[in-house]
């Protein structure tokens, strides 16, 4: 095995034992990136120089015994986090040349933990998409089949982990943008509870739904990253001042006696039979570990998509108003006056999907429609959350497929936004309710595409998610495969 194929905990052991150096890890990674990146396009910007410098510093620190949880570990960042002095585009032309003067809180936290950054990964423009096809910098390809999409919006991060172009990565999840690409690329992806990981410096898509989380090769790595990034941040008003446990403590605990809810609404019409089969098989695995499964109902599930596609665009229409060609980013070279400058800069700077959502959101908030759309959706959202509260009164965990189908082909859904939106149907509810969720690999389709299993837990129960995901991972006896590239 090459060093870049290992997990964080494996590398930690080697680094500590002196069996590998950070420099060797970074060298292996960039060799891999050189080989596969042109076919996959996981990154928008590489931070090669920073990474090599970081590796040298990490090796010096290790020599001195100054070892932090992520010392010497190369991590990729979705290009949605502000990185001081490093271009941050959010996948958009309108920010194609933007260099932030500050670091996002998670970036600072990872730095303090000793992480090395490999680069900024590709994404759907402003995280609006489920396929990483709407990026201004071109589409990212699924390493399991480059004709197919990797999922989105954090497709670049998922691919970078799946194709061993980094050891772990950070993404952001507004309606499934971590869990869905994790499922489609065969890696672990977690969306924590809203308020658990600071959003400060995360370029906003939909503020009440956005949450940051890790992509990793296994559940233990997920716990390691969460230990570094979770916690209260006074720079964010919606950050929750709650204690963060050591998530590694949950990895070896069993799930005997747990009640697992299986919501019937998540085994919808149109779900791929191979996906359903893999998930049913997973149910058997957790039952084998001493957990009881129960059919439960989340009756408002069918409204989630409609609620989401009102709330998220409404917030986005306001969040994206700052891109006006004045303070930063793209400005049209020719304009007649201010109004013309605004319209041209924004129309040329944003791609079609972003404009579609700005239009939708603006409409939903506009005079005469607010009550029928935004307010109505916010009320239904409250009811959706109640559904979850109800189920979590009797269940420890909810188990569902992460996506209705494995990865679809590039271009397959680009002309039909509603069909594209439907691919998020199983992940959106967690964002609406603010609860944490994790997607773990649960097998492959007949054509060799990864399938994902989703666990959902009640607010701030990330530990429970680690516990069941880890137990499942250890006992599922899944075939170990790597994408052929």
């Amino acid at each position: 095995m090459e060093l870049n194929q290992l997990t964080i905990h494996e590398l930690q052991n080697r680094l500590r034992a002196g069996e590998a150096t950070a420099l060797e890890i970074v060298q292996a990674l960039f060799k891999r990136i050189e080989t596969v990146e042109s076919r996959l396009k996981a990154y928008i910007s590489l931070m090669k120089e920073d990474a090599f410098e970081g590796a040298i510093r990490a090796d010096e620190a290790i020599k001195k015994g100054d070892i932090n949880p992520l010392t010497g570990i190369p991590i990729a960042l979705k290009d949605i986090y502000c990185t001081k002095g490093v271009r941050t585009t959010c996948g958009s032309r309108i920010l194609h040349n933007y260099i932030p003067p500050y670091n996002a809180t998670v970036v600072e936290k990872l730095q303090q933990a000793g992480a090395i950054f490999t680069g900024k990964t590709n994404m759907d423009e402003f995280a609006m998409g489920s396929s990483t096809e709407t990026s201004f910098f071109g589409a990212t390809r699924n390493p399991w089949d480059p004709e197919r999409i990797p999922g989105g919006s954090s497709g670049g991060s998922a691919v970078a982990v799946a194709a061993d172009e980094c050891i772990a990565a950070l993404g952001s999840d507004t309606g499934g943008s971590i869990r869905q690409p994790a499922a489609l690329c065969g890696v672990v992806g977690m969306k924590p509870t809203y308020g658990r990981v600071s959003r400060f410096g995360l370029i906003a898509f939909a503020s009440s739904l956005d949450q940051i989380g890790p992509f990793t090769k296994d559940v233990e790595d997920c716990a390691i990253i969460m230990n570094c990034i979770a916690g209260y941040d006074p720079k964010e008003s919606t950050s929750v001042p709650a204690d963060v446990p050591d998530y590694r403590d949950f990895l070896s605990r069993d799930i005997k006696g747990w009640t697992i809810g299986v919501p019937k609404e998540y085994f919808i019409e149109g779900i791929d039979p191979e996906v359903e089969q893999a998930v049913r098989q997973a149910i058997k695995v957790v039952e084998g570990l001493g957990a009881k499964t129960r059919d439960v109902s989340l009756p408002r599930t069918k409204y989630c998509l409609a609620v989401y596609y009102i709330v998220a665009p409404a917030e986005a229409s306001s969040n994206l108003a700052r891109y006006d060609g004045i303070k930063y980013g793209y400005r049209t070279p020719d304009s007649l006056d201010l109004l013309d400058m605004y319209k041209k800069s924004r129309s040329d700077g944003f791609g079609a999907e972003v404009k579609r959502r700005i239009m939708l959101g603006t409409y939903a908030l506009s005079s005469g429609y607010y009550d029928a759309y935004y307010k109505k959706a916010s009320q239904v959202r409250a009811l959706i959350k109640q559904d979850f509260d109800e189920v979590f009164r009797t269940c420890d965990i909810i188990l569902t497929p992460t996506t209705p189908t494995p990865a679809f082909k590039l271009g397959e859904k680009t002309d039909d936004p509603l069909q594209m939106y439907l691919s998020d149907i199983l992940t959106i509810s967690a964002n609406l309710a603010g609860i944490p969720g994790i997607s773990v690999p649960c097998g492959f389709s007949g054509s060799g595409l990864p399938i994902g299993l989703q666990f959902l837990a009640s607010h701030f129960e990330e530990g429970k998610l680690m516990q069941i995901a880890s137990a499942y991972e250890k006992n599922a006896n899944l075939e170990k495969r790597r994408p052929h590239l």
């Binding site: 933007y98 260099i99 003067p101 809203y194 308020g195 009440s208 739904l209 008003s237 919606t238 950050s239 929750v240 408002r300 069918k302 409204y303 998509l305 409609a306 609620v307 596609y309 009102i310 108003a321 006006d324 060609g325 004045i326 303070k327 930063y328 980013g329 793209y330 400005r331 006056d337 201010l338 109004l339 400058m341 605004y342 319209k343 041209k344 924004r346 129309s347 944003f350 404009k355 579609r356 700005i358 239009m359 939708l360 603006t362 409409y363 506009s366 109505k376 916010s378 009320q379 239904v380 959202r381 409250a382 009811l383 959350k385 936004p417 509603l418 939106y421 964002n431 609406l432 603010g434």
Partner: protein
């Protein structure tokens, strides 16, 4: 029809976007489909339900009134497409 081309034009103006004629037609039709889909929300009785504007109900997040670091003028203007002197320059506002 949930949304007309004229409304699309009005909303585009509010959002400071502009579209070619063809795009407008396409947007009108796509937005229509999406809004038709949203119709399903009317099946739910939400009378008396408090709208949920935040994922987690929290209150009273404050900071103290103490001065921190500002950016210097150069850093503030570093990303500006058209900085002039100490200012951001913009085309004249037509009143």
């Amino acid at each position: 029809m949930k949304i007309t081309k004229k409304e699309v034009e009005y909303v585009a103006h509010l959002a400071r976007l502009e579209f070619a004629e063809e795009e407008k037609e396409k947007f009108t039709s796509q937005l229509n489909d999406i809004l038709m889909y949203m119709e399903m929300l009317n099946q739910i009785d939400t009378a008396g339900v408090e709208p949920m504007s935040h994922a987690i109900a929290q209150k009273n997040a404050f900071r103290e009134d103490s001065i921190g670091e500002s950016l210097d003028n150069e850093a503030a203007l570093a990303n500006a497409p058209d900085p002039r002197g100490d200012f951001f320059r913009v085309p004249k506002v037509i009143e």
